[in-house]
């Protein structure tokens, strides 16, 4: 219990620091950000109004306070190009990104963990194949893999659409059709990492002293590998999955752009290209928060998986 609270409390300074960074994003841009943002729409009145709204003329601390309090009330600001409130933009974009990343991570775990277990204790051929898969998966850029999949499944065999999106709530089947390629693309690269980690930590777990005692108890090999060794090996796997989630979020940015998925990632890229700074700020904030929250959840998960960690002991 205390472990949980501890972990949650430790996350707060990280969130704050991150918010400061994101906050400074607009203010560090050389020149007048508002001018650049509005581009040809900039008139002296517009610029002045918006500068006032953003409190850009006030001391930095005040600006931060205003912004932060706005955040905590659910007001992330507005998109000054399309005049839409950011919270609206983000509300429709976040589920897309979440679906993409969660499905990809899920698929990667489902494929990667068994592959890793196989690599740890299977026949030599399986070991070499998983090795090859890992090296290949790590080296190949995920978005290139995406283009190859599109080449195969959309251009050549016209089975799947190369881009587009329908929300799950609107039409689940169509949603899945659109998501298969992007999710697979991200999952393959991810699965390579996960299987590599799984294999390493499984090899370690299977070499641990308690395994000899498990054998002495006459437990079937299957139980030793899947119940005991895997459970003990799971902490590094979860660690890597947590870290990789960050990489996955980064990858999602590119994949969303490639496949035309209206997620937060694509929003960020478009906004940067358009110099739409407030949108960039909001999108970066969301992605970063997501990342920090996932890390927190990962931490909490360890505590459950390895009771020694939540007791404050070393592993």
């Amino acid at each position: 219990m205390r472990y949980i609270l501890e972990r949650i409390l430790l996350t707060i300074p990280t969130l704050l620091a991150m918010s400061v960074f994101v906050f400074l994003l607009i203010r560090l841009v050389p020149g007048d950000p508002v001018q650049t943002m509005l581009g040809f729409r900039a008139t002296p009145q517009n610029v002045a109004t918006i500068r006032h709204q953003l409190h850009l003329d006030e001391p930095l601390i005040t600006q931060y306070r205003e912004w932060l309090s706005g955040l905590l009330h659910g007001d992330l600001g507005r998109d000054y190009v399309s005049h839409a409130p950011l919270s609206e933009l983000l509300r429709s974009a976040i589920p897309v990104t979440l679906e993409l990343t969660l499905l990809s991570m899920g698929l990667a775990l489902v494929a990667g963990v068994p592959l890793g277990v196989l690599g740890a204790q299977g026949p030599g051929l399986a070991r070499r194949l998983t090795d090859g898969f890992v090296i290949g998966g790590v080296s190949v850029p995920d978005f290139w893999l995406g283009t190859l999949l599109v080449l195969l499944f959309s251009a050549t065999l016209v089975w799947l659409p190369p881009s587009g999106y329908t929300p799950f709530t609107a039409d689940p089947l169509a949603n899945l059709r659109y998501m298969i390629l992007p999710v697979t693309t991200l999952a393959i690269g991810e699965a390579a990492y996960i299987s590599r980690t799984t294999r390493g930590s499984m090899e370690e777990a299977l070499g641990a002293p308690f395994v000899t005692f498990l054998r002495a108890k006459g437990l079937p090999e299957r139980s030793i590998v899947y119940r005991h060794a895997l459970r003990n090996a799971s902490v590094p796997i979860v660690t890597v999955a947590g870290i990789q989630f960050g990489v996955l979020l980064g990858g999602a940015i590119v994949i969303e752009t490639l496949f035309g998925l209206p997620g937060v990632g694509r929003l960020t890229v478009t906004a940067i290209n358009q110099r739409n700074y407030t949108v960039v700020q909001g999108a970066v904030l969301v992605i970063a928060t997501l990342f920090i929250v996932v890390n927190l959840l990962t931490d909490l998960l360890y505590g459950w998986l390895d009771p020694r960690i939540s007791a404050g002991g070393e592993r």
Binding site: T14, I135, T147, L151, G246, I253, V254, I287, A288
Partner: protein, 281 residues
């Protein structure tokens, strides 16, 4: 003494993997450096008669949407990609290694002082951090190099700090202090050479990933800007004409994968020698 200590054992016991990786990299570096000499065509030469033409004897990788020779472009693009990858990691090491060294060696308050801000950099996913910096500074290969260096700095600092913590308790360090060697001397002559192993392993792998990050950023249009050729940009262009000219997409991507493979293999091989217990990663 330092350089020999690191290089000599490597030459003696290069594992199969590392040798293959090193071989690949050597070839790529040669190709990149000699690109102006080797390239059969000017990478920027637009040739309307060869728009989207397939691979043939004089254009082994085919031509892109503007009739430019893909092979030549790949060669020149390697210069940028390899340069950014290696450069960014070297910069990250130049800053990260001393920081990690100081933090690990002195420990205590200095450790917290250094590692807290460093760790904050880890709170953002890598690509996001890069994008943030690009937002502020604007796109370009220089920014990409800087951004990647910033991303990798904390990782390398952490790795060095970790191995320093291990080395600091070793007998020869304590012995050196007992002989009256100054702390700075200790750090540089005794602790540093023996802590670099895992960092070098990590650096090698990070160089591979740096290529991927640069390619991703360029793919998004936020990295290397045209007309400078970049593998990522080529992929973006190639994707536009995927169906008509798949070679414009396949070869640049393959080029990236091979380069990353080289770095990863070298890193894996080095790890077997330097860091068998997995301090890094």
């Amino acid at each position: 003494m330092t350089a020999v200590a690191i290089v000599a054992p490597v030459r003696r016991r290069l594992t199969g993997r590392a040798a293959v990786g090193a071989g690949i990299l050597a070839v790529l570096v040669v190709l990149a450096v000699l690109a102006p000499v080797i390239a059969p065509h000017d990478p920027n030469a637009i040739d309307p008669s060869r728009v989207l033409a397939g691979p043939d004897a004089s254009h082994p990788f085919g031509s892109d949407a503007l009739g430019r020779d893909v092979f030549s472009r790949v060669l020149f693009a390697y210069r940028v990609s390899l340069g950014v990858a290696v450069g960014s990691v070297l910069v990250a090491m130049a800053v990260g290694v001393p920081l990690g060294l100081l933090a690990g060696f002195y420990g205590g308050a200095l450790d917290s002082l250094i590692m807290r801000p460093v760790d904050l950099l880890l709170a953002l996913p890598a690509l996001l951090l890069a994008l943030s910096l690009i937002t502020i500074i604007g796109p370009g290969s220089g920014v990409v190099l800087f951004a990647i260096a910033v991303i990798y700095l904390p990782i390398l600092a952490r790795v060095v700090r970790g191995s320093v913590l291990g080395v600091v308790g070793e007998a020869y360090v304590i012995g050196a202090r007992a002989r009256g060697v100054s702390p700075f001397g200790c750090m540089v002559r005794h602790v540093l050479p023996n802590s670099l192993g895992p960092a070098v392993v990590q650096a090698s792998v990070l160089m591979g990933f740096a290529i991927q990050i640069e390619a991703a950023l360029s793919f998004l249009g936020l990295g290397v800007q045209p007309p400078t050729p970049s593998l990522g940009l080529m992929l973006a262009d190639g994707y536009q004409v995927l169906q008509q000219a798949p070679w414009a997409d396949i070869f640049p991507g393959l080029a990236i994968a091979i380069a990353v493979l080289g770095f990863v293999l070298v890193g894996d091989g080095l790890r077997a020698h330097f860091d068998p217990h997995g301090v890094s990663r």
